[in-house]
Amino acid sequence: MQGGGVTMRRAIRDEASWQAGARAVLPLAAAIAVLGVSFGALATAAGLTPAAAAVMSATTFAGSAQFAAVSILGAGGGVGAAVGAAALLNARYAAMGLGLVPGVRGGPWKRILVAWLAVDESWAVSWLDDGRFSQERLVGAGLVLFAAHVGSTALGAATGRQLFTDPAAWGLDAAFPALFLVLLGPHVQHRDGRLAAAFGAAIALALIPFAPAGAPVVAAASASLVGWRQR
């Protein structure tokens, strides 16, 4: 089984590398870029300068929060409402940040940089099949997404071109939940994972009609508490 052993070591090394993380999100980079162009066009229409739109993509770095903040601003809403909506939509990253804790290494600045690169998709592809988290995969995936998101925002803001005024017409809005469904697969091979997924989905579904956007996903994080009980 020498050949098998070599393949296995290769696969393991491959899995935890930044290249593996970058490869894993590459299929999504195109969809992210389309959303980025839309955001750039929308943000400039709402009164942001192209530079402000690009800086927002680099710092807030989450499509849903950016679209929400800019649309509130464009509709004449206040600064507080726009920032509050963005913070609520990004509140799930507090839970995702906790998920990074066991795997993150390095000094405080490095940890801040790693946390910065954690967005839904990069965080999602950073989990190895055995349930551990790989910092290398997160950084590789995060850099690809960062380049795609910021670059496409700048393009959309500079040209103001309504290339993709309606990403939904291309079915792109379904590509994101589809990715999370695919990524869910390895985590529901064991009973606790299935329980956490079922509770998480139920909590989110139950809260959608009552809670502001963003809150259902934050509340669903509590489903992970099924791991607390003694085995």
Binding site: A69, I112, G171, P177, L205, A220, G227
Partner: protein
């Protein structure tokens, strides 16, 4: 300082503070096994919630629309262990086609 820049700076600062709090304050520390077990289950809990909210929410409503068709294709692809790119393109294409023909 325009309102736009103010929103950009405040939203960015709030997001970074939210993201970095856990890794900055707790990173590199040995965590008790029970807490580790909980943190590992964040992935399935949040993925399932993201599937539900991004697949079935429309504002404050829960609807089954063209996205559900795309998600069915994605579920089948995941079950068959198809490559991720094929699953994503298939889900988007089916959703776009359903939208086009059902409108």
């Amino acid at each position: 300082m325009t309102r736009g820049w103010l929103v950009v700076i405040l939203a960015g600062a709030a997001t970074l503070a939210i993201k970095a709090a856990g890794p900055l304050l707790l990173g590199g520390r040995a965590l008790p096994p029970r807490l580790l077990a909980v943190l590992r289950l964040l992935a399935p809990a949040l993925f399932a919630a993201l599937v539900v909210t991004q697949g079935f929410a429309r504002g404050r409503g829960v609807t089954v629309d063209a996205r559900a068709g795309g998600l069915l294709v994605a579920a089948a692809g995941a079950w068959l262990r198809a490559p991720a790119i094929a699953v994503l393109v298939g889900a988007a294409a089916v959703t776009a086609a359903l939208r086009f023909f059902l409108q």
